[in-house]
Symmetry: C2
Subunit: 271 residues, 2 copies
């Protein structure tokens, strides 16, 4: 039997009772303080995906990061707040040693695909096969769990940029490392796999972190399945840094030009 993928190990939840699970942080996805937020988000999503009451597929998740997750075990508890004809509303909490570390609201729905229209086109950029696309030298474990190829806006962790970038925009190809077929679980995590825009416009390390992360799953189950383990094209940007916060919005595109997910997060930073 092949060893499970590190991402699957990092998102393994053991069912205790209806809506109650036990999880464990993974050193493979360590961030500056605690695990990478994308994997925390995926743990919260996982509790819904594993739930026998689930009907349909994820449509939306909002994760609120309340306190740093520490190395070790935690419980994930979901409540099915509303079970409608088409749509289910879930509330999820991640608790560690009595401390609420993260909450999430998850919306799932039974989806058909009768009316479909794309309003935006996948950006035309250099291809993944372009061997000149740089990858990242990064001091954080979780960054090693993704293969990044930067079209523009590669973050600089050396602190040697000298001058601040004018643009907060990153366009990157990104895939799990080692490769893993895309699913809703990994897409949840990938939606947070852009470094904080603050690091681009102000390459000075100050305490900072995502406070709230919202992802909308625009792609269908079929769109996601056909992607396999190929790199997604991701675009992230910010509109305004002000009063200790900045926003950060993103899009994730499939190889076939389908928009799979859009999202926004709000990031706190110390001045």
């Amino acid at each position: 039997m092949p060893e499970p993928h590190v991402f699957d190990m990092a998102t393994t939840l053991i069912p205790i009772s209806e809506g109650h699970y036990q999880g464990q942080t993974s050193p493979d996805y360590a961030n500056m303080a605690g695990p990478f937020g994308g994997v925390t988000a995926a743990n919260l999503m996982q509790s819904v995906l594993l739930d026998p009451r689930l009907q349909g597929d994820p449509v939306s998740i909002t994760v609120n990061f309340c306190a740093a997750v520490k190395t070790g075990g935690y419980t994930v508890t979901n409540v099915l707040k509303r079970d409608g004809k088409y749509i289910q509303h879930w509330s999820v909490e991640l608790v560690q040693q009595g401390i609420l570390a993260a909450t999430a609201s998850v919306i799932t729905a039974q989806r058909k695909a009768e009316f479909s229209r794309d309003q935006v086109q996948k950006p035309t950029v250099r291809t993944l096969e372009d061997s000149d696309l740089p990858t990242m030298r990064a001091p954080l474990k979780w960054l090693e769990r993704y293969d990044f190829r930067f079209v523009e806006g590669m973050p600089d962790f050396t602190g040697q940029t000298g001058s601040e970038s004018q643009s907060a925009k990153t366009t990157q190809y990104v895939a799990d490392l080692p490769p893993r077929p895309l699913d809703y679980l990994s897409l949840t995590s990938l939606s947070d796999a852009f470094v904080l825009r603050l690091l681009l416009v102000r390459p000075k390390l100050v305490p900072a972190g995502t406070v709230s992360l919202t992802t909308h799953f625009i792609g269908s189950r079929a769109d996601i399945a056909e992607q396999g383990d190929a790199h997604l094209l991701g675009v992230a940007d910010a509109t305004r840094f002000h009063g200790n916060f900045h926003d950060q919005h993103m899009q994730l595109w499939s190889t076939n030009g389908k928009l799979l997910a859009t999202g926004t997060q709000i990031v706190w930073f110390k001045s």
Copy 2:
């Protein structure tokens, strides 16, 4: 004593005990089924703004609409889930006759303004003083509570468009009617004061509604105060309609060119 503004009446909550309030729907903000979602969002925000434990200003709100709000009374209950040094996390529920109609997570924070940078510019469009800007003839009560002046993408409620619009984008000036000085409460509601993008690209009335609404308050208290009762410039667009859902993102700009709020919502529609 002057009569209170209709918006203040529609967002009046009577404190019952810590975190518990009683509210009442307002016929002035009626939508197709139940009240305008923006006013429901403002009611949830109001419970936090009125709470004596609040320290700081709103940063983010995500509202999940679980069931139609019916005409009449409701309770709004908040829980301060996490009270940090800089940031507070609130969970709020609106319950009516034992039915959970809406949930929200609200993030508030103490904000200073040392590092500030704008990454995007206010769109250069026709001015509000341009008397050719059309306003909307609309069959819904809540639409009469805002003064809309359309730069582009005016929705057509007559069903006489004939052909579908290619663009899902609306650029509009918008202000409370009658005029009311802007604050976090009205900004919460204004963040939802764009009709569903579906109505632009597919002017055929089908059951549809916002399922989840996220707003980030990028502007500071001072930015909001200096706006007074002048019209905001709002821009809304969608990226993809697929599998019974579409996203809808928006920006709200002050007269002085400051980005006050950005947001995204996910909208369900019947095919």
